[in-house]
Symmetry: C2
């Protein structure tokens, strides 16, 4: 069972994993399952993953058979495990609990070499619906307080398999980075009586210099204080605390915007590795006034080094106004 441990100084939680490589000689080499050039996410290999928890099959077919457009399976090497109770306890001055949670993989397409930019908008929309469906199911579990949806694309961005996929991890505590945003947004709301993200959307649409693309429901911007070159946020234009409560037309428009953004990234940055995350309100949060869900997309172009680790400051060599212009002007 993995263990959740809390740093007594910074109150940061860490997952000490027991299902992954751990000896010194394990680092720097590919995991066993990758070496043979075999892909467990490709059609025909359904038996090599844990049994699916969701799949979209346009033409029917039984569970774990081929013929799917999208499949969701538990992660075979989960960071957190679904069974068990939290078991909060101390170890002298330290705090720990069992590594309880859910860790699932959304296999976005049967095509091994596809990207979000290469898929049709309809297929990207299916990926969003899969996120939606899994969150609705998992939020019934009262042990979970947050579900983080994320995508690592490319080895340099931490992907261990090339086949296009996203992941979600449900956690029994609200993650620190989310907590910081919640606290900051709440403080802003208490002071201004307005949502900070709504204000960002208004100022960005008004100034225009950091806007990359937009449609009726969403806008993509290079954020004012971008940590990384070409960092991009996608925000709903109207206030909405939960990703999973979006309307049908919003998923349609988000799929279009996200696909277009990925096309621009591929064009300008030549298929960059990237991380994508969705930040939504904590499960069962009752005050929906101050937080506004959004996507953060971070191409992996620079190294995070000692200064960033030690300070939490970031050094960004590309002003977001320049990044937005490059992406806005890309011919797609």
């Amino acid at each position: 069972m993995p263990e959740l441990r809390k740093d007594p100084v910074a109150s940061r939680w860490v997952i000490i994993s027991t299902e992954r490589g751990r000896r010194p000689s394990d680092f720097g080499t590919e995991p066993e399952r990758e070496r043979a050039g075999f892909c467990p996410f490709c059609p025909g290999n359904e038996s090599k993953t844990p049994p699916e928890v969701l799949a979209y099959r346009a033409n029917g077919g039984g569970p774990n058979s081929s013929g799917w457009q999208l499949r969701v399976v538990p992660n075979k090497f989960p960071a957190l495990q679904i069974e068990g109770e939290l078991g909060r306890q101390g170890d002298g001055m330290y705090d720990k609990m069992n590594g309880v949670g859910a860790h699932e993989v959304i296999i976005e397409t049967p095509e091994h070499g596809e990207t979000l930019a290469g898929m049709s908008a309809q297929r990207v929309e299916d990926v969003l619906w899969a996120f939606h469906d899994r969150v609705l199911d998992l939020k019934k579990d009262q042990r979970f307080r947050y579900i983080l949806i994320f995508k690592n694309s490319g080895r340099a961005a931490g992907a261990s398999l090339d086949h296009p996929h996203s992941q979600l991890i449900a956690t029994p505590i609200i993650p620190k980075r989310v907590r910081e945003e919640l606290d900051g947004a709440k403080e802003y709301f208490n002071y201004k009586e307005r949502c900070v993200f709504c204000d960002i959307v208004r100022q960005e649409l008004n100034q225009g210099v950091r806007v990359i693309n937009e449609n009726d429901d969403f806008v993509a911007i290079a954020p004012f204080a971008s940590r990384f070159p070409f960092e991009t946020w996608i925000l709903p234009k109207t206030h909405e605390p939960f990703f999973e409560d979006a309307q049908k037309h919003e998923y349609v428009n988000l799929a279009k915007l996200l696909r277009d953004l990925c096309l621009r990234m591929e064009k300008v940055l030549i298929n960059p590795p990237y991380n994508l995350i969705i930040h939504s309100s904590p499960l069962r949060e009752t005050d929906g006034r101050y937080y506004h869900w959004h996507i953060e997309l971070m191409p992996k172009l620079t190294q995070v080094a000692g200064f960033e680790w030690g300070s939490g400051f970031y050094i960004n060599p590309t002003p977001p106004e320049d990044a937005a212009k490059y992406l806005r002007d890309a011919k797609v």
Copy 2:
């Protein structure tokens, strides 16, 4: 002039640099100054760096001449610039200020291919004295509130030059990561009336399972909630808020312990890239009871990916008790 910008949600500061590569085509290629195999930090090339602000020369010799054991120079491509006032101002809802600060490079040795593990303890001690001397000088500047000392070793850890060097950046604000530790330590102190780091030292020496090495003044441990495999902290055994206020015998013993630790890392992890940072109290902090300076050393063995960026959680595949045992048992 670089610009400091604040994220309005997470209150995170970012340095938007104007002195570094910025166009899409600049990423993924080595900076110009590296391509020719020329090292500006090697003896004989003193004129290729900005004029030195400190040097140790056992046999005399004028400034910026050869014959040095250690040299400190301003960074030629500084993240922050030394001249100017802060100029705090708004841009609509956003906050920014001029990127004022100091950014210096400590060239640790004239030998291009040396490492901390390969240097004598006396020479490692010189590096610590250089940190000490520069902090004492820079803290006179009332614009600065913090000085972060750090070292990136190896390209994968963000080093852009191979020649052994450390860096320091003086900032006009207390960095977020430091602020988090200060706040956490203060909260612990208010509750317990003891320093949290002193308690960590006591519990670790008592339990022994996460101790790597120690001497009269310092102990190196794999922290209970290590974020990264083989993450290591070095803590003074007695309470001390400021790195720069250590006594002579402490620098002697720190140099010995640090060198020994680097030897163990090289042996067990086969010369890993790593980041090292020193966390000390903010400049001119008057309450010295709650914070305890220390070193954090993080070998770069895994990728930080979407889950970490989105949550602030870390997934560590090597339990710190195992990491400590590997390093403790290494024959050095």
